[in-house]
Each structure stands twice: as C-alpha cells, then as structure tokens.
Amino acid sequence: MKVLACYSNKGGVGKTATAVNLAYAFAQSGARTLLCDLDPQGASSFYFRVKPSKKLKGAQFFQDVERFTRAIRGSDYENLDILPANLTFRDFDLFLARMKNSRSRLKKALKGVHSDYDVIILDCPPNISMLSEAVFKAADKVVVPVIPTTLSERSFVQLLDVFRADGVKMTKLLPFFSMVQGRKAMHGETITRLRARHGKRFLSTELPFSTDVEKMGLHRKPALCFAATRPAGKAYWALFDEVKARL
C-alpha cells in the first residue's frame, strides 16, 4: 500500500482538485483507493457528495482504528472510498500536538486500513503543523502544487526548509506547476527559474488554469469525469501517470 499526500503550505493552489482527480485516476486504473479528506473545509468530500460522519469524536479518532474505518464511505465510483472531513478535524492539529508519538499513531491508523487499499491519498490542510509533519512521515510521496508566482516560490522554499529540518527525505517531494497561464510572462519565467534551480524535482506536467477545474464544484464530480479530453483533464491524466511512475 502506498500513501500519497497532497499538500501545500499555501491555500488556493489547486491542492484539493489535485487530490480528487488523482484519487479518481488511481481508482479508474484499478487500484483500490481511499481519499482522506483531512482539510477541515471538507472540499474533497463535497466534490464526492459525501457527508461527514457525526458519530466520530476526535479525541479517540486515531486511537481507535475501527472508528477510523467505520467513518469511511464508498464513493459513486468503483474502487474509490472517501474518509470524509469531520468537524473534529478542525481540532485535529491540536489533538495531534497534544499526543506524544503522534507520527507513529497516524502511521498506525493508516496501517489499520492497509489490507483494504492499494493507495491512500491524503488531502491535507494548508499549514505546516504537527499534522502535516506527521503526514510527511507517513506518506510515500508528497505532491505539492506550485503556482508559478513569486509568492508561491517563497512558500515552496519554506516547505523545503521544513523537510530538511524534519529530516524527511527530499525524494518524497513531488512538486508540479499548477494553475499555469501561458499568457502570463511571469509564469513562464518562474517556471524556467525553478526548473533550473531544482533540477528534476519538479514533475514535467504543468496543470493549466482552467474553468473545468472550477466547474468541479458545480458538477460535484472530478474534472476527469466530465472533461477528460479537455486540456485540464489531459493534464490530470499526465500528472497521474507521472506520480504513479514515481510511487
């Protein structure tokens, strides 16, 4: 079983859309896939029309593997299950911080569903916290969408520092350029600069800025479902191929 985290320390970069479409692509490829919506805004769950479970109490959540697995919901798609965002996730960072050995606990909770899934995708909240550090530890790869702007570049550098400080292997990091607008000169320049500086670390897929991604909220479906042959859809498939090859 592989754990793939979608993470960004900056909001609004297309992280949830990436998690949702990658999860859908993995499931379509035949892998039994679980998408964990750890983002308190619950956007991935929303896209899959899955309501959070009311019964869960955060304090016991990661101690009790059975509760963890009982909260899982089947999506409308073959091979794809969702662990929906829950109110208690709002305090999740805090909860993890209070717990000693938080990393191993998360790891243990993930192991609890090992037998069920080939791929677990974590849609993480956009901040660097105990949770995200635990996620870095648990994940086999961390997919990071980066908008090619100066501000995003700074966030990315910060993330690298966190990785270094935590002693997390840099090879886990899979950054890619997201919401790329070909007409913006700054996007092109930033991409060139970052690719030159970070070598092969950046995936070659560049995800275009697209209304199809925005329409996901309208359709409440992954873009790959309704726009598979349009530029955004094609880019998500390409991203999936690249991520899968590295996983």
Binding site: R49, R70, I72, R73, G74, S75, D81, R220
Partner: protein, 509 residues
Amino acid sequence: MTSSEPIGFLLDGQIDWSQIEAALAPLRLVTEPDDGTVPFRLLDCHDQLLRGSGRVLLEFDAALALFAGKEAPLRQAAASDGDFPADLPDGPIRSLTQDLFPLRCFLTLARGVLRSTTLRVVDEETKTQLRGEVLQVEGEAGGAVTLVLLKPLRGYDRAPAAMAAGLREQGAGPVDAERVFAALAPEVQPYVAKPKTTFTGQETAFDVAVETMSNYIAVARANEAGVIADLDTEFLHDYRVALRKLRSVLSLFKGVFGAVQTAELKAALSDLMQPTGRVRDLDVYLMERADYDARVPEHLRPGLSVMFDAFAAERADAQAALANHLNSKAYHTVISELEAQFAHPEGFIRGAASGVSADRYARKLIWKRYRKICKIAARIHDDTPDEEVHELRIACKKFRYLVEFFAPLFAGKSAKRIIKRMKLLQDNLGAFNDYAVQQQALLRFVETHPAMTGRRGVEAALSIGALIALLDQGQRAERARVMESFDRFNSPEARAEIKALCHPEEAAA
C-alpha cells in the same frame, strides 16, 4: 464491507417497485431496466448436486452466475464449447463444479428469458448509497422469480437495511434452490442416486426388499436417457450401480422371495447388466489415459496411444450398440414388466423369511455378513492367494450395501459411521482389484487385438508391457496394505459399534 444485510434475495413472481420506494423514503430509488430480455438456461448436473447444496446456476449473456442463500453470486464467463466443468474458462464456478462433479456434464434443466435492471438508491444530494441488480427470470413453463442482488457501499448501512426490509415485506428471502426450481423447472424432480428406504418399524423384510428394489429400478430408469445420448460416463455408471444393487438385494435378502422367483429376477437383471459391461470397462480405461501416460516414460507414450485409439474406436461401436439396446422394444418390455412387478408386489411368490420383521431381519443379516468378513480376513496373510483377497472385497461390498439399505432403520449415526470406516478398506481392495483387472485386460489386448501387428504393434507391446509391470507394482503395493486397512476398519470400537447395532439387547444389558 460494513453492512451486515444480506446481498442476495429471491422473490416469487415479479417485484412491486412502489412498495420498495415507500420503504426507502426519504432515500430515492433510481432504476434503469435493460432494453430487452435475454435467454437464460438453468444448469445443473444430472445428480443436481448444485440444487442439492442449495445453489442455482444460471447462464445468460455468455456468462454464468451461481446464486446461493444471502451471498453475492459467483460469476464468470460461460464455456464457448463443451458441457463439462473442465470446458469452462478459469473462474470460481469452474473450480467449484470441477470439485463437485468433474465427470458430469451440465444439463439444461430449464430455459426462459431474463430481464436485468440496475438500481441505485440515492440521497437528497444524489449521492449513491446503494447499488444493485435485479434479474426478472421467466421460465418457459410460465413460472417466474426475481433475484435481487445488492452491492452496498462502504459506510452506508441505512439504504441496504431499508431495501432489505422492503424486499422482505414482499416475501423475499435468501436464494433458495427449491423455490427457483418450483417456479422455473416444476417438472424436474430431484435425482437421488442412493434413495433411502422409509421405515416406520412395522415393515417386513419383504416390504423393505420391494421398496429398495423399486427405488433402484427408478434410479436405473432415470439414467437411461443419459446413457443413450452418451452425455457423460456417470449415467452408465449409475445405471450399472443401480442394477448391481438390485441384484445384491436379491442375493442378500435370502428367503424373502421364493426360490424360483429369485432365480427369475436374477436372470432378468443379469440380462439387463450384460450389454453394459464393455462400454463401462472402456470408459474406465479411457478415463485412466492421462494417468497411464503419466506412469510410463515419455518415449513409450506413443505406443500407448495405439491401444487408446483402439479403445476409443471400440467404445464408439459398443456405445452405439448399447444405445440401440436401450432403445429396443425388447428392453422396454423387460424393464417395464420389472417396474410393474414391483409396483404391484402382491403378485410375487414369497419366501419363508418374507414375513419377518425388517428390523430383526436386518440386524441378523448385517451381523452374519460382518462375521463372514471377519472369517475371510482371518485367513488372509502375506501369502494368501489373490482370489481370497477378492473374496474379501466382494464380502465387504455386500456388507456395505446391506448397511446402506437399512441405514435409515437405525437410530443415530452408527450406520453412517460404519460405512465411513469401511471407505479406506474398500478403496484399498477396490484399487487392488482394478490393478488386477486392468493387467488382464491389457494382456488380452496385446494377445488378441488386430492393432498389435507390424512395427506399431511392437512399439505398442513395449509400452503396454511397461504399463503392465507398473500396474503389477501398484497391485502389490495395495495388496501389502490390505491387512492394515482391515485392522483399521475392524478396530475394537468398530466391533463394539457393529455389535451394538446388531445385538441391541446385549449391548443394553
């Protein structure tokens, strides 16, 4: 997954969707019926082993689906050609039927048309909470059943529970083979190769003999069509076993029929048995082909195929002759008369023992047969001639038939246990005999068959010679085990159990 509700449901007749919708509210039911109907076949082997184990096998849309109880059906592709489990492509139904009846072919026990409908149960956000499939099955005979198969989604327990409740309100239950057969194949009776005689305790030995024989005549008749059509080897095998059991009732139930009556019946049965022997022998050799091939070195295998080709050709002729015989007027007269005689047993000339209580008679007979086995076995040691070992085999067989005939008479499972204990010994003796018979048959083939001439004949003789040597080794190995098998069968507990069965008054005292 998380739901504990059943997956499979069976309803008699059609489903009433409005009731289901009411049971599901506020969830919504979305159904998408297929455009048309597809033909289906209800399959089982002649023994109806699937039906007997509560299973229902349907073939439609070039695929097989095996339903049982509350479980999700097993599914796989159908065979493109052939009627045997081995002809199926790899899959769960192939493995299961290969284990259950490797030698039997599938028979079509009912036909008709089937309409499939996919269903979804959605919530107010149109999130799917339950998927399912409905098969409306209409038999040619006019009966209909509906199969509902639910595919619960992880984490959604309410929808399957509400659906199950709605289905139960309409009388749905787990998939039950008898209900399906009653609707789709009402005329197909269950086939029982070993019918049980019913005992009330009041019967005489004569009553039991008549009922047993009449049951086995029915078994023989139930296999005629399959033998004639040459569907699989087991029709003839069961046919012959039934005739053999009929004969053994006559020889075991001494004094039940008058002496002349017994001799007449025996003669009639021998006449029926006679034309079946050769086809069965050849069936056995041909079935052993893979095993024989495996026993000899590879370069000797072409030699063996001379023999197998000859056997196959001979079998085709013998089978045709057998089919002619079973289709003949003469055969029909004999078998119908026999049937009629047992349907009106008052016409039989009875023997001295006919009025004895079946219970007493059975216990006495079984004890006598058991003593006989022990007596023969006591004589057997390492140097005893093979004939006496054969005698032990036949005595054991008769003993087992007797225990089988009367098994329903005895309380508890002691009869079943005795039969089970005999299995190892009988397998051992059976293998010993098969090796002997096969060697003789191969020798006869080498000595007399026209194919055994020229260079190919020499080649064949070499191969068959090697095979005979191997069969002889096998026979000796079986022979060496006989005493051990007997001692295992005749353990102190077994002796005590047989004694308790035959002499309950002593055991109680």
